[in-house]
Amino acid sequence: MSETGQILEVKKIIGEIKRAGIRFIVALPDRTTSHHLLKTIMKDPDFRVVQVCKEDEGISICSGLYATGHRALLLIQYTGLLDSINSLRGVAVEGKNPVCLMVGLLGKEPGVAPTQSKRYGLRIIEPILDAMGVEHHLIEYSEDTEKLVPAVDEAYRRSEPVVLLIGKEPK
């Protein structure tokens, strides 16, 4: 892998979010993504950022936005995903709402698959999503950002949620 391939670039993520037609970012700060990605998004006039107090609010806000014809992205930490399982179940999966989540995997070891992490909380994320039938993709290097637009388009086409797992801190 090239040296630039080791990096997860903020500008590439933001470019792909925009290319996916997303203008609403619903967010609760996640240590993996807040410093470079969220703060950059908050300064970008192309985005409207809605800050939430708890992550499950965001699943419903994104659903309300979908009902009015807008695409949105919920930017949270994996602990917040775990805390929002019932809303993900009832609002997004059973309610067939194309909620797109970008979830930071705080503490994931570089180059190690989430299911092989030493951290219990990280190891269980993908199996939980699999059990719920929720599509998910790992974004760890800049070239992985190419997954974003097709994943979001497919979520809206099928009216189903999708989770984009952020494997390292974007810079």
């Binding site: 809605v50 499950d56 609010e57 419903s60 936005l65 807008h70 009832g90 309610g95």
Partner: protein
């Protein structure tokens, strides 16, 4: 105290083109009292009504959004008051039917029943106007003005159960009805 369905009938008489988000008992009654493609009942999980309403209000800023929340439901998502206060949508009217119980779940009292102030919580969270109504005459006299105010507005409706309406959870969470809602908004 107002009977809930009578309270809703007052609101229905003054409804024009507003989106109405309704949860649980309120939803079961509202879809009969004020049938409309602009009724949004697809909230999917307890406590989430106010958050759906915020998404709708932000996505549809030229149309008023009224949410008919429950007190037990709102307690499950109190942070949404701060989220809504911060986002400050002018087109959001947040009504809470305060009956002091988890009515759908066996009418067990909510914690803090009769002691907590939903208008106080909303005011401190950044809602720009708050109202409380405990009788139909005052509600009838004020409703048109209240729903025309710039929001976010909190309206605490002191209610008791009224007439029984048939429950239809399948209708409340129907994705076909949700698609009809989107179509009505011409999306």
């Amino acid at each position: 105290m107002m009977k809930r369905d009578e309270c809703f009938k007052v609101l229905a008489r003054h409804r024009t083109n507003q989106i109405v988000v309704a949860v649980y008992k309120a939803a079961q009654e509202w879809i009969h009292i004020s049938p409309s493609d602009f009724n949004y009942t697809f909230t999917g999980a307890m406590g989430q009504g106010s958050s759906h309403a915020l998404g709708l209000a932000l996505g549809c800023p030229d149309r008023k959004v009224i949410v008919l929340d429950g007190d037990g439901s709102l307690l499950m998502n109190l942070g949404s008051l701060v989220t809504i206060g911060h986002a400050a949508p002018k087109n959001l009217i947040h009504c809470v039917g305060e009956n002091g119980t988890y009515e759908t779940n066996g009418a067990v009292p909510i914690p803090g029943a009769g002691r907590i102030s939903f208008t106080g919580l909303a005011r401190e969270a950044g809602y720009v106007k708050t109202y409380e109504f405990d009788n139909l005459q005052d509600w009838e006299r004020s409703v048109e003005h209240v729903i025309s105010e710039d929001g976010p507005v909190m309206v605490d409706l002191k209610i008791v159960p009224g007439q029984e309406y048939p429950e239809d959870f399948r209708r409340l969470y129907s994705t076909q009805v949700r698609d009809a809602f989107r179509a009505a908004l011409q999306i």
